[in-house]
Each structure stands twice: as structure tokens, then as C-alpha cells.
């Protein structure tokens, strides 16, 4: 095939995915989709293998491939033009029940030639707690509607009985219907555009280009792996739920042109819903692998072939049915993301050629708070506080992490503006801003996370309730690299305030009068004059903080990114009358280095 035709087809495939993503966003009415970009669209070959991974949450690319394959197995001989399938069972392929896959076969001239698949986190899935993340769940049966595969549309005709059954099991069925319709529209656009591509170039040419694309990706990743040093790198993540501590332990081994992610040593599965299934772990490790190792390689089946995963059965990263998994995406999966990011970062740092691609761990803890209740218009609102997607960049070899800089597993993650959230829920923001001292110290500082506080406002029921499935309050998870410190931790504080305590315009947590109760797991009220304070983690730092240019540390203090205490104690910078003292700084840094040798543990 001539390289120009190949290149055009490759770009067209990418544009098909892009346009389908836009469709999904424009049709959806959920802030989690069109503001937070908790979505994914990809194209798959006729056998279900990944052809063109799209943007959005990348840990879905491989899971949706498995979902396609599960549909192919289940509906063998019953897959027709115009069909549409639904799958959301975590033990078949999905990550958790509320991330529904809608999967459409794409036929050309009567023959199955490809699949499109997409997901959104639907408004509700009928789990014990509204919104899908269910800290109260004890097993998969309490996590809402779950299907290992069903046909939703048969040859272009909606199966109304199936549609009605699904909507009968969820809260806010009109919003879930809109979520599903956005995904139907997305798949329709993907299918139409792909068929147009087949019509223009012919089935044989497009098929040839697709095969070449996968072979090219495999070849290029294997070449890259051969350029990287052979070795092994380890990382470890801690999770805590209600006093119980869990570990995700990873040894990543690279030999020749193959990479093995071995999670041996990780904790047994939890009774809480932070577990994840093996497909979720596989997706979790690929989420950082795609952007960090394959930033210039098409994300498809070719990238998957050189990679193998070992995940012990019955562990927190490969739990056995019916263990609960509804919090997986911000639980064990995110820890797998972080662990893989850490080991890949270390492997890159060991390479002369690729060191500048290395990074500390980015935003490692979603705080994932779902609000639910009667809104100011008397309707039902359920939805996430999208600041959980705001993230924080990890420090990179080439510079500081970006403040509120997103996250590695989702290149297009973002948060809604305050007004959007205040229009959706009966709440008012007292503040939302960068969080001082949240970015991990280092020669290159991790990007800051943020902090915010909300109170109930104009609420017909006197307030609203919220689900917290937070981890990351006990243990930092945004690991530093090469001497960099980790990013700071999350916090969730319920401020109990009575009328006399009411603080209409508190500018900080300390300003908010009342009893402050740290919380992290369960369902809580935001009523009366009470407040909810949330802070989210920063990115990991990179390199020795004592090597950070003193002028940059001063800039950080001036900008409010770090405190004077951090500047002095961690970065070794000295001030005199509020101004940098270069001589004293040099002395202090020398003393701090010497102290490292004297205070050996």
C-alpha cells in the first residue's frame, strides 16, 4: 500500500473517533460526560481487537475490546447490521457497572467489518447508593443493574422491552435514557463515517490499512522497548477503607521487546468496593502505558501484544465474583494506574534516549463525590463534583508538573466551572482554588491540587446528600521520582454548623465555624448551615528539592503554591526580612545535606 493512502486512512480513522466523541458530548446532558469527559470512544476490528483507541479514560480501551469479544462469543450467529449491544458486567469486561458499554457492529456490503464502542458513566445504575459508586455495597448484586451482554437494538429497531427494563431499575430514568441515547448517536456517527471510508477506498484497501496499522504499532512499540534498558522496577500503592489497609504491589519487568506487569504481593480482595477485576487491572496498566510509551504510536492491538499481566486471583487487582467493585475506577484501578506510571517513569529515567519523557505520578486520588437530591427546580439531581477530574500534573524530567493539570489516564479530563455546578445542584461555592503545599517538592515541583468548600443554597429540601468513596486521605499516592517527594493527600471535612456558627463567606477551612469532622467513606448530608470542605492531591515531585533554583522557590511562595515553611524546611531556602538570602540559603542547603548523613535511620 502506498504510504499516502495508508496515512490518509489512519488519520480518517482517528477523525472518526474524534467526531464520535464530539457527538457523545453534545447529545449527553450529564456534566460528568460533557464537562468532566468521563467517556471513551474507540474502533475495533471485526474480531473485537482494538483498532483505533480514542481519547477519554484510557483504561477502557482494552476492556471495551474484551467487551466486543464477549458479545461476539455470546451472540455468535445473531449479529446483524443495525444491531446495538450493551455490556456493563465487571466480571465479563467492564470496569464497574455504571460505566456502560454500548457496542455496535459495523457492516459493509453485508459483511461485519468493524465495531465501534463507547462508554459514559451513566446518571445512575440502581446501586445501593445513587450515582454508581456504592460504598455501602457488599457484593456485585448490590451495585445495580449488571449485564454480561444484551441486544438493545435489533436490526435498527429498539427492543422496547429491554429498554424499559433497564430504565425501570435506575434512578432518574430520563437522564439515563439521555446517556444511552448519546451513546447510540455516538455509535451511529462512528458507523456512518467508517462506512463512508469503506465506500471511498474499498473494503480490501481499508482492511489492508487496518492490518498494517496494527502491525506498525506492534513493531514500533517493540523497537522502543528494545531501546530501553532491560531490568525490573517496583512500585507500591496503599489504599485505606474504614481502618483497613490494602496494597497494590507492582514489579514491572522488561526484557528485550516485552514487558510484564506482575502484581504478585498485592493484598487479598477487600470486602469493600475498591476491588477491581482482571480486565480492569489490564486496562489500568495500559492507561499510563499508552501516553508514556506510545505517545507517537497508534493505540491499538499492536501495542497490547508485547505486554503481559500477572494478577493473582482473589487479590484486590483480580477479585473473584461476587466481590463488590463499584468504586474500582477510583480504587484499585487508579492504584494500578499510579503503580504503572511510577514503574514506567523509572524505566524511562534509566534510558539515555528517553529520560526526558519520564514523569512522577500525576493526580493519584480521585475524590469522586456524588451529590444527590432535590435540586432548586424541584427535580432530581445526581452527579459528580467534576473537580475530581481537575487533577494535578506530576513533575516531569523537563519541568514542573502543571497545577490542576489533569491526569495521565484521561488526556482530556477537565472540571466544570463553578456556575455549572451551582446551576445543577442547590449548593453555593465559598471558594475553589489551588492548594498550597500540595505539589510534591522536588527539583521540579509536582503540580498543585486544589481545595474547595460548598454549602447548601436554595435547596427545597434544606440541602442535599452526597456519597464519598474517598481514598487517599491516609496515604499519599502521587509518588515522587528520583528524590522528589509525593504529592499531598486528599481531605474531606464535614463542618457541622448551627445558626450561630453560620459563616456566609468563609475564605478558608479555618474560617468556617462549627465542629469539623473528617470523613472519607459513606453517605453524608449537606444541610442547614453545614459545609463540605474537600482538598485534592497534587502531583509527585522529581529530583532533590535542595536542587531547585532558589528563585523558583521564592516564586512559588509568592504565587501561593508553597508555604514559607516548605521553602525553608524542604527546599532549604532562607529569607531575611521576607527577601531571599542567597548566602544563608547556600549554608542552609549544605547543612540539610549534611544532616541527611548524620540522621541515618
Amino acid at each position: 500500500m502506498d504510504p499516502i493512502t495508508f496515512s490518509i486512512i489512519r488519520h480518517r480513522l482517528f477523525r472518526v473517533v474524534e467526531e464520535a466523541v464530539m457527538t457523545l458530548k453534545h447529545v449527553s446532558g450529564s456534566a460528568i460526560t460533557n464537562e468532566g469527559h468521563d467517556l471513551m470512544v474507540s474502533l475495533y476490528r471485526a474480531d473485537g481487537s482494538l483498532l483505533m483507541g480514542g481519547v477519554g479514560f484510557l483504561h477502557h480501551l482494552t476492556s471495551a475490546a474484551e467487551a466486543c469479544k464477549a458479545i461476539i462469543r455470546r451472540f455468535d450467529g445473531q449479529i446483524h447490521e443495525g444491531d446495538l449491544f450493551l455490556l456493563n458486567d465487571p466480571y465479563t469486561a467492564a470496569l464497574h457497572t455504571s460505566d456502560i458499554y454500548l457496542i455496535a457492529p459495523i457492516h459493509y456490503e453485508g459483511r461485519l467489518v468493524a465495531w465501534s464502542a463507547c462508554f459514559v458513566h451513566v446518571f445512575d445504575i440502581g446501586a445501593m447508593n445513587p450515582g454508581g459508586f456504592a460504598p455501602d455495597a457488599v457484593d456485585i448484586f448490590t451495585e445495580g443493574f449488571s449485564s454480561p451482554g444484551l441486544k438493545l437494538i435489533d436490526r435498527g429497531e429498539m427492543r422496547q422491552d429491554v429498554w424499559d427494563t433497564i430504565l425501570n431499575m435506575v434512578r432518574g430514568p430520563e437522564m439515563v435514557a439521555l446517556d444511552l441515547r448519546s451513546m447510540i448517536a455516538c455509535n451511529n456517527v462512528a458507523g456512518e463515517r467508517l462506512i463512508a471510508l469503506f465506500e471511498k477506498y474499498g473494503a480490501e484497501t481499508v482492511d489492508h490499512a487496518c492490518r498494517m496499522l496494527i502491525e506498525q504499532s506492534e513493531q514500533r512499540l517493540r523497537e522502543r522497548l528494545r531501546e530501553l534498558p532491560d531490568g525490573q522496577w517496583q512500585s507500591r500503592q496503599y489504599l485505606e477503607v474504614k481502618g483497613e489497609t490494602y496494597r497494590v504491589v507492582l514489579t514491572m519487568r522488561k526484557q528485550g521487546d516485552e514487558l510484564v506487569f506482575d502484581f504478585t504481593g498485592s493484598s487479598p480482595q477487600s470486602k469493600y468496593s475498591v476491588n477491581c477485576s482482571k480486565w480492569a487491572s489490564l486496562g489500568g496498566l495500559f492507561a499510563p502505558l499508552f501516553p508514556l510509551l506510545c505517545y507517537d504510536i497508534t493505540w491499538n492491538e499492536g501495542v497490547i501484544r508485547p505486554v503481559r499481566m500477572i494478577a493473582p486471583e482473589g487479590s484486590i487487582v483480580n477479585c473473584a465474583r461476587p466481590a463488590p467493585v463499584s468504586v474500582a475506577t477510583v480504587g484499585a484501578i487508579q492504584s494500578v494506574n499510579n503503580a504503572a506510571c511510577a514503574t514506567i517513569g523509572k524505566m524511562l529515567a534509566a534510558s539515555e534516549r528517553y529520560a526526558e519523557e519520564s514523569t512522577a505520578v500525576w493526580h493519584a486520588n480521585h475524590f469522586a463525590i456524588f451529590m444527590f437530591g432535590t435540586n432548586q427546580r424541584g427535580g432530581l439531581s445526581i452527579g459528580i463534583l467534576t473537580e475530581t477530574f481537575a487533577g494535578a500534573g506530576g513533575a516531569r524530567h523537563v519541568g514542573d508538573g502543571v497545577d490542576i493539570g489533569g491526569e495521565i489516564p484521561n488526556p482530556i479530563s477537565r472540571m466544570a466551572n463553578v456556575e455549572t455546578i451551582e446551576a445543577t445542584f442547590p449548593v453555593r461555592y465559598l471558594f475553589r482554588r489551588r492548594l498550597k503545599d500540595s505539589g510534591g517538592p522536588g527539583r521540579h515541583r509536582g503540580g498543585t491540587g486544589g481545595e474547595m468548600m460548598i454549602v447548601a443554597h436554595d435547596a427545597p429540601d434544606g440541602g442535599i446528600d452526597y456519597v464519598v468513596s474517598g481514598k487517599g486521605t491516609k496515604f499519599p499516592q502521587s509518588d515522587g521520582l528520583a528524590g522528589g517527594y509525593p504529592g499531598a493527600l486528599n481531605d474531606y471535612v464535614w463542618i457541622h454548623a448551627d445558626e450561630s456558627d453560620a459563616t456566609a463567606f468563609a475564605g478558608s477551612l479555618a474560617d468556617m465555624k462549627g465542629r469539623h469532622e473528617p470523613i472519607s467513606w459513606g453517605v453524608y448530608p449537606l444541610r442547614g448551615k453545614d459545609g463540605l470542605y474537600v482538598r485534592w492531591n497534587g502531583g509527585g515531585g522529581l529530583g532533590d528539592p535542595l536542587d531547585r533554583p532558589a528563585e523558583q522557590v521564592v516564586n512559588d511562595v509568592t504565587a501561593g503554591a508553597i508555604s514559607t515553611r516548605a521553602a525553608e524546611e524542604v527546599y532549604g531556602v532562607a529569607f531575611k526580612d521576607g527577601v531571599l538570602d542567597a548566602t544563608l540559603t547556600e549554608t542552609r542547603r549544605r547543612d540539610l545535606k549534611a544532616r541527611r548523613l548524620q540522621e541515618v535511620a
Binding site: P229, K474, P476, A482, V493, S520
Partner: protein, 92 residues
């Protein structure tokens, strides 16, 4: 002396893992360099920016060069957990 990267802060030279700043040898390439580093341990709860709920047991292990004091690596750990160990395969 043949020299190549082990990490951002360490190099491999003549079959040994050395500090990248002062080139002090820390360990043979197939051994744990962390055992030979200057280790200081600080509770995460005592660091600037620590959260309200930080577990009192969790520490930041800081591995510095035992010669020049340059910080080589950190790791977050509970006291009972072993050091994270990285290895580079040296040909031949």
C-alpha cells in the same frame, strides 16, 4: 570508565551503582544500592501540606548518597514493608 544511567540520580559504572552527582560507588549492579545509602525516615504527617487524616504510621524514606548527601530516591512506605528494588540488567 563505562558509564550509563541507572536512574535520574544514579549511574552504572564498572559494574557498580554509583551516585550520579559524586560517583561514589554504592553497590554492585546486582545488589541493593539502598542498603548502602544514607536513609532518613520522616513521617508523612509531619511534612508541609500533610492532610488532616494522614496515617501516623506512613513514612517517607529518603535515600541519600552516603558520600555527598544528594537525595537519590524517595519512597512512601509503612515501616514493615521492604525497600522497593529496581534492577538494570548489565550485559555480559
Amino acid at each position: 570508565m563505562a558509564r550509563r544511567r541507572f536512574s535520574d540520580t544514579l549511574v552504572l559504572a564498572d559494574g557498580k551503582i554509583c551516585c550520579g552527582a559524586c560517583e561514589r560507588p554504592l553497590a554492585a549492579a546486582d545488589r541493593s544500592w539502598k542498603e548502602q545509602a544514607a536513609l532518613t525516615v520522616v513521617p508523612v504527617a509531619s511534612l508541609p501540606g500533610a492532610g488532616l487524616g494522614t496515617d501516623s504510621r506512613i513514612v517517607l524514606r529518603r535515600f541519600a548518597c552516603s558520600g555527598c548527601g544528594s537525595l537519590l530516591e524517595t519512597e512512601v512506605a509503612l515501616p514493615e514493608d521492604p525497600f522497593l528494588e529496581d534492577r538494570i540488567v548489565v550485559a555480559g
